[in-house]
């Protein structure tokens, strides 16, 4: 039986299921002869069997199905009325097909089942030369039995002739075994039962279960109900474990541990029942790829690796459309035409690889092509053209993040709109579909080498591992999927370790700046004066951020309960769950919190470094670092600065509520940088440092607390913070330094400072935009 290949096995399983349905349909049809639905269902089934058997070269099977189909066509077209005799004939056809399938299953070939008789009977019915009217049922069925019984012994020789010799002795007894499922027609059942030998005679049959016996169809609702109940059981188990933990009674502890084990196994088992190999949705891909490749004029080879990777069936459904879209996209936009490929020095045939595997409690599905790749600059240009991002926003983004712009709604890089893809609906839908099931989608691309789309999908939805944390008096759950690491801060360290850029808090995690979000702020609650805090480093899309919570409680498996409709609109909770003590806890929606609290430009530096796409050749910018009090340091591109001065405080004068200074025979307006950036002004020194900016005939002087140093910015460590007057932050000389938005700062004191020479403005922008500018000029 092992030598039956997968296609045949699939065919057998599907056909057995269809045949069971067919029995019912035929009988129902007899009761309601006019039902078009039933007729077309029956017709479809037989038609499928006929087609597939022709394809698989089972000619006897095809012959039976073919003549049966002819009879069904007449019924379907209304040229013949369903009557008792016709039903008998059709049921007999079904039985014969079943025999043939059984024979194929046990021997791999169909020979050995007598089909001529049944074909003749059906043909007779078709020709109207009925063999005896309606009361023929009984004899006909017995004839069927007679057909089968000799078939079991007599043609065995013929089997041994063309099949493996060692199989043939088994065949004789094993063949009738798969003749299963009592056919609903009473006249046929006893007749069928006759030829089946006593079970004692068929040791082989009991050893290996038939294909149809080894799998059953189960109502999905039942599985869902089981899943829910197992969820409850896990909950109760958690409660018991808690009770047993505090109680030292050894008996209870032992029982509790055992319960815990059994519950886990049960949970796993029930989850497995809902698992289906991803092959189920991949099986349609070869066809899609073939059709699409020929219509797009591409040569594509499809490789599929890991098709047996299993996923919860509800998840599988949700993955289907995004995956199909990615495959279409890869062929339409990714893989080039054969000529272009050859010109680029690649084989004419492109390779599209689908790969699925388990990693870290998730299933990863990759769609990889070796096509042209995605050009980040084109993506940026497109985003600008569509008005999705401004030049400034784009300049502040790292190359890796530019690729993620394709996930924005309304984005499409297709130069021409085709009927395949490129209508501006696409990647954003892919992303929202995947995120709606708690997954994530990533893209990696190398120009000229290809693109990889990676879907991260949770194994199941109903139960998930989570970290429980405390904020204020309440407990919240953070899905482990998003959690990267935890950083504990004690009281003293909390004050020092959290640094500020404007109003934004950051933490230095292994040398790079991690934007911080306080959970209490997200929840709109007062900050507690907690003694210690923990930073949960979370990954959302391609942004990483630290969520500051009061305390970390536990790692546990939580059962996800849906939220009431009234609470969904809040938008930062993914659901609710019950804790071991029965208390309700809310599950945080990390993606939503990230979207809400991080503006798109807040990029995490470490990500860029990690993805290896840090821009390597960047113009070095000289930066003037000044202090503005409270230990804050601000960097100003030196190229914009005209002079540095030290003046006595009494040289500052006030005109109409504004501070001015007489400087080189002109009255120059003064701006205090500390005030511009919302810091406390702690001058009162003997001399005040001034930074002087001059453009054309206009001059502005800026008061700072101290001139610190001049350093070179190599553009590597940089993060943007959405705060007024600032472009972002950089680590200079080991300290977090804020990068001043000079035009914005000067505009506050002299709105016309940059009015006169707009050409210079771009130069200024190019300068302060630093590392990104060289690349972005083309945009």
């Amino acid at each position: 039986m092992d030598d039956i290949d997968d296609i045949v096995r699939e065919f057998l399983i599907e056909s057995y299921e269809n045949l069971d349905q067919l029995d019912q349909d035929l009988v129902a049809l007899e009761g309601a002869p006019g039902s078009r639905d039933l007729l077309s269902s029956v017709f479809r089934t037989i038609h499928t069997i006929k087609g597939t058997s022709g394809f698989l070269a089972f000619s006897d099977l095809e012959r039976v199905a073919h003549v049966g189909e002819s009879l069904l066509v007449e019924l379907r077209d209304g040229r013949r009325q369903m009557d008792h005799h016709t039903t008998d004939v059709l049921l007999r056809m079904v039985d014969t097909i079943r025999d043939l399938l059984g024979r194929i299953e046990s021997t791999g070939a169909e020979s050995g089942v007598e089909v001529d008789a049944v074909v003749a009977v059906i043909q007779a019915a078709l020709d109207g030369t009925d063999l005896g009217g309606t009361d023929v049922a009984e004899p006909a069925a017995e004839a069927a039995a007679a057909d089968i019984s000799p078939a079991d012994s007599a043609p065995a020789e013929s089997v041994s002739a063309d099949a493996e010799p060692d199989v043939s002795p088994v065949v004789v007894v094993a063949a009738p075994a798969p003749v299963p499922a009592p056919a609903p027609a009473p006249a046929v059942v006893p007749a069928l039962a006759l030829p089946a030998p006593a079970p004692a005679d068929v040791p082989e049959a009991s050893v290996s279960r038939g294909t149809s016996d080894s799998s059953i169809r189960v109502d999905v609702d039942l599985l869902d109900a089981l899943m829910r109940q197992v969820g409850e059981l896990v909950l109760v188990r958690n409660q018991i474990a808690q009770l047993a933990g505090s109680d030292a009674e050894p008996e209870l502890t032992r029982s509790s541990q055992r319960l815990s084990l059994i519950a886990s196994e049960l949970q796993e088992g029930v989850m497995k029942t809902r698992m289906q190999p991803i092959d189920h949705i991949w099986s349609k891909m070869p066809r899609i790829v073939r059709d699409l490749a020929s219509s797009c004029g591409r040569e594509v080879r499809l490789d599929m690796v890991g098709g047996d990777t299993e996923l919860d069936r509800s998840l599988l459904e949700s993955v289907k459309d995004p995956l199909t879209h990615l495959v279409r996209n890869a062929i339409d936009h990714g893989i080039e035409g054969p000529d272009d490929r050859v010109t680029a020095g690649k084989p004419a045939t492109g390779v599209l690889t689908l790969r699925a595997y388990h990693a870290g409690g998730q299933v990863i599905v990759e769609v990889r092509d070796d096509g042209a790749g995605i050009n980040p600059q084109r993506v940026a240009a497109k985003a600008l053209e569509r008005g999705l991002k401004t030049v400034e926003q784009l300049e502040a983004m790292a190359t890796g993040d530019l690729l993620n712009l394709v996930f924005l709604p309304g984005f499409s890089t297709a130069a021409t709109v085709t009927n395949v893809s490129g209508r501006g609906v696409g990647m954003d839908v892919v992303r929202s579909n995947i995120e709606s099931i708690g997954g994530a989608v990533e893209v990696e691309s190398e120009v000229g080498r290809g693109t990889t789309w990676r879907l991260r999908i949770p194994l199941t939805l109903a139960i998930m591992p989570a970290l429980t944390v405390r904020s204020g008096a309440e407990i919240y759950a953070i899905p482990q999927v998003s959690l990267q690491e935890l950083v504990a801060l004690d009281t003293q360290k909390t004050q020092e370790a959290i640094e500020h850029i404007g109003t934004a808090e950051v933490y230095r995690l292994r040398g790079s700046l991690l934007p911080l979000v306080r959970l209490s702020d997200v929840l709109g609650q007062p900050r507690g004066e907690a003694e210690s805090a923990v930073i949960a480093v979370l990954q959302a899309d391609n942004q990483r951020f630290g969520l500051v919570v009061d305390k970390v409680l536990n790692n546990e498996e939580i059962v996800v309960k849906p939220l009431a409709a009234q609470l969904k609109s809040i938008g930062i909770f993914a659901g609710a769950t019950l804790m071991g003590d029965g208390q309700v806890a809310l599950i945080l929606d990390v993606q939503a919190i990230a979207r809400r609290t991080l503006t798109g430009e807040v990029a995490d530096v470490d990500q860029h470094a990690a993805s290896g796409r840090a821009v390597s050749s960047v113009p070095v910018t000289e930066l003037l670092v000044v202090g503005i009090g409270s230990g804050r340091r601000v960097a100003i591109p030196l190229a914009l600065v005209t002079r540095l001065e030290l003046i006595a405080p009494d040289r500052l004068e006030v005109v109409g509520g504004h501070e001015v200074i007489q400087y080189r025979d002109a009255i120059v307006p003064i701006t205090r940088l500390a005030r511009t950036l919302g810091a406390y002004d702690d001058d009162a020194g003997e001399e005040i440092p001034l930074v002087v900016f001059t453009r054309g005939g206009r001059t502005v002087a800026m008061v700072v607390s101290e001139i610190v140093e001049i350093v070179s910015d190599d553009g590597a460590e940089r993060s943007t913070v959405d705060d007024r007057g600032l472009l972002g932050s950089i680590v200079l000389s080991g300290r977090v330094t804020e990068l001043l938005d000079v035009p914005a700062a000067l505009a506050q004191v002299d709105p016309r400072f940059y009015d006169e020479a707009p050409v210079d403005l771009t130069t200024g922008e190019a300068l302060h935009a630093g590392s990104r500018s060289a690349e972005m000029v083309g945009v």
């Binding site: 909950l235 309440e474 609710a576």
Partner: protein, 139 residues
């Protein structure tokens, strides 16, 4: 004709909801507050393994909302196949009331309360105000 009402007290007034809409009445359950929730949402409770939303009608009725940890009884109402729990001060008896005791609310009743209160039964002990639970618990 007569209708059966489950009665309960919120503040000074006695309210009634048709008995068919009520699945059960319960004593106090600790509530988990939901940050940023709309006014009137009093948190979530664990009802035998189900997470159920609790609603405090007081703000809608012009009263000060209950404190998050205030002890309160609950009337569980079925709305669109979902269970929602109303926080009440005291659950009263189930009354069978003749329809001819019923009167529509007076014209002087404000528009926002008119949405909630469909009318009143004139009892000997006072008025029983009938609540439109669908309006009261609309998302």
């Amino acid at each position: 004709m007569s209708t059966q009402y489950v009665t309960f007290r919120i503040g000074e007034a006695l309210y009634g909801v048709e008995v068919m809409r009520i699945s059960e009445t319960l004593g106090h359950h600790p509530r988990t507050p939901v940050p940023l929730a709309p006014a009137g949402i009093a948190g979530l409770v664990n009802l035998r393994g189900q997470v159920v939303l609790t609603v405090d009608l007081r703000p809608r009725l012009g009263l000060a909302p209950l404190a998050p940890d205030a002890v309160s009884m609950m009337v569980v109402v079925e709305v669109d196949d979902d269970s929602i729990s109303l926080l009440v001060d005291e659950v009263g008896e189930v009354l069978t009331l003749d329809d001819d005791q019923f009167e529509s609310p007076p014209d002087t009743l404000g528009a926002d309360l008119r949405e909630l209160i469909t009318g009143a039964y004139k009892l000997e002990t006072g008025l029983l105000l009938t609540l439109d639970v669908d309006a009261a618990l609309a998302a």
